[in-house]
């Protein structure tokens, strides 16, 4: 069985890594045990802390905050991206005029905006939503723009010969084509919404997963940092699985997956 063999090997990698970590951090092979544990913690301690956090319930509140920020950044960013993507794709002049500015804005590392957003929107969720928005917007924007521009001329001519007016063309041709491109970048845009939320929390907030990690870090609680990272990883995998499910439903008509991302 190929699948089983693969799974087995994947588990082997995990066990071996954890084993090395454990040996290094609990024996004096590489120096003082207390020092190594201060810097690297131990796998058992991290698992124990994670388990405690997941059962105690407090973490769910932080997860909820992060999730809210992620969803808001994704939804608002996507809506704006769709709106602007359509407008720019249908208006030659608009896209020509704004082209250099869009490129410049997209080239900017978004993290530098985080302090500005904190200043503008405060330390609550909205500064994180704003950061996620700047990441999501451009991905969706470029994909929708491409989707509208790259509608096959034959499909368009055919639709027009069938008597469709502008509204019907939008509904049956432009919109589905743009959505296709947007959905093919769903993983990237949802991922970036989450990055915006966590990075924003990390840089200044009082709630959320990023805050939890930052809090642990500021008191040199390495176990807490690793545990926060583990929870974050589980969270991301869960969201990604959800996105895959949504994607499968929405893109049934497509022959093979060939995701295009910017």
């Amino acid at each position: 069985m190929k699948r089983l063999k693969l799974l087995f090997l994947q588990i082997v990698v995990m066990v071996v890594s954890l084993l090395i970590w454990h040996v290094v951090s609990t024996t004096s092979l590489f120096g003082d045990v207390k020092t190594t544990q201060f810097f690297f913690s131990t796998p058992l301690a991290v698992l124990e802390r994670t388990f405690k956090q997941l059962t105690s319930g407090e973490i769910y509140w932080h997860l909820g905050i992060t999730l809210t920020e992620t969803v808001l950044a994704f939804v608002i960013g996507s809506l704006a991206g769709i709106l602007f993507g359509f407008a720019f794709a249908r208006h030659e002049l608009l896209s020509a005029v704004f082209d250099p500015y869009i490129k410049a804005a997209n080239a900017l590392p978004r993290v530098v905006l985080a302090p500005i957003f904190a200043l503008w929107f405060g330390l609550g969720i909205w500064s994180k939503v704003a950061l996620g928005f700047t990441l999501v917007f451009f991905i969706v924007f470029f994909n929708v723009y491409q989707g509208v521009r790259e509608v096959s001329p034959t499909i368009l001519a055919n639709a027009r010969m069938l008597g469709m007016n502008e509204r019907q063309l939008f509904k049956h041709v432009y919109w589905p084509s743009a959505l296709t491109w947007m959905f093919s970048s769903l993983h990237t845009s949802v991922g970036f919404a989450l990055v915006g939320a966590v990075v924003g929390e990390y840089l200044g907030s009082s709630a959320g997963l990023g805050y939890k990690i930052h809090e642990a870090e500021s008191v040199f609680d390495v176990t807490g940092v690793f545990s926060g990272m583990l929870i974050l990883a589980i969270f991301v995998i869960a969201i990604d699985a959800l996105v895959t499910m949504v994607e499968k439903r929405l893109l049934v008509w497509r022959p093979a997956q060939s995701a295009t991302t910017t």
């Binding site: 001519a157 055919n158 010969m161 069938l162 008597g163 007016n165």
Partner: protein
């Protein structure tokens, strides 16, 4: 087969005789402006009338402007000079009385076969339930009863053409325009599709303009075969009547003696043009800076 100006028109096609041509192209010039500032005259001085009930094929060497002419009749492009008349009225904008079958895949890939056919009725304001029934009926008519829920990528090239055919015919257009519709298909599928087309067309005999580079296909299907010259500035060099009896089976008809005679006649004029086109480099040579 004699060169002829005015085809015999079925008297039953209209109440007033002689019937108005469904498509009347007169003095059509089509010039493209090229990106480098030059101009390419694709079609020059074309006069062509297609009457209701007539199946007219247009043959000619590659790049001679056959499709360009069809697009002018569809209103997808407007001629530089000359007039397109549709049932006696000058055409402005898209030809609302025509259906168009494209060479390339024109189905919406995000819609199932059923939805692709159904959507053709939406601009006509047909209620959804009725549209659904009629679309199913048409898909059954083109032999796709069990494929209604398939997306285009799950269908073969021939099946996709069948869906396109149903999508076009469900609107019951008075003029059918087809641009090498069976071009991408293999030889057997082409024959099957040809027979299907004849079967569907013969039920109500719409005016049909059929562009193809396959002379045998043109003769087997049509009432008239129009030969176009090699481009640039292509025009009509000959117009042949095909008086083979209907109904026809396009596989069998190729074996008949009359078919060979017609084929020999038309090929004699087509060959000259094909050779000219090859001499000019596949007939795709663009003559920059040429004035109409």
């Amino acid at each position: 087969m004699e060169l002829q100006d005015r085809p015999q028109v079925d008297a039953g096609a209209g109440t007033h005789a002689p019937a108005e041509p469904a498509v009347a192209l007169s003095g059509i010039d089509i010039t493209f402006h090229l990106a480098d500032g030059g101009r390419y005259q694709a079609v020059k001085g074309v006069d062509l009338k297609v009457y209701p009930g007539e199946f007219v094929s247009i043959v000619g060497p590659t790049g001679c402007g056959k499709s360009t002419l069809l697009n002018a009749a569809a209103g997808l492009l407007s001629p530089s000079s000359g007039q397109v008349g549709i049932f006696g009225k000058p055409l402005a904008g898209l030809n609302r009385r025509a259906g168009y079958l494209f060479q390339q895949d024109a189905l919406m890939p995000w819609k199932t076969a059923l939805d692709n056919v159904k959507v053709a009725l939406e601009p006509m304001g047909v209620p959804a339930k009725e549209a659904d029934e009629r679309a199913r009926e048409w898909l059954a008519r083109v032999g796709l009863r069990t494929f209604v829920d398939r997306y285009p990528h799950m269908l073969s090239g021939g099946q996709r053409k069948r869906v396109s055919l149903a999508q076009m015919l469900i609107r019951n257009p008075e003029i059918l325009l087809m641009d090498e519709p069976f071009g991408p298909l293999d030889a057997q599928t082409r024959q099957i599709m040809g027979n299907l087309l004849l079967d569907l067309w013969s039920r109500d005999r719409k005016a049909l303009m059929f562009v193809t580079h396959d002379l045998e296909e043109a003769i087997a299907l049509s009432d008239r075969v129009v030969v176009m010259s090699a481009g640039p500035a292509a025009g009509i060099v000959a117009d042949y009547k095909v008086s083979l009896p209907r109904p026809r089976d396009i596989a069998d008809i190729r074996l008949e003696k009359a078919f060979h005679e017609i084929h020999r006649d038309i090929w004699s004029s087509l060959r000259v043009e094909v050779q000219k086109a090859y001499a000019m480099g596949e007939g795709r040579e663009l003559v920059a800076g040429e004035t109409p």
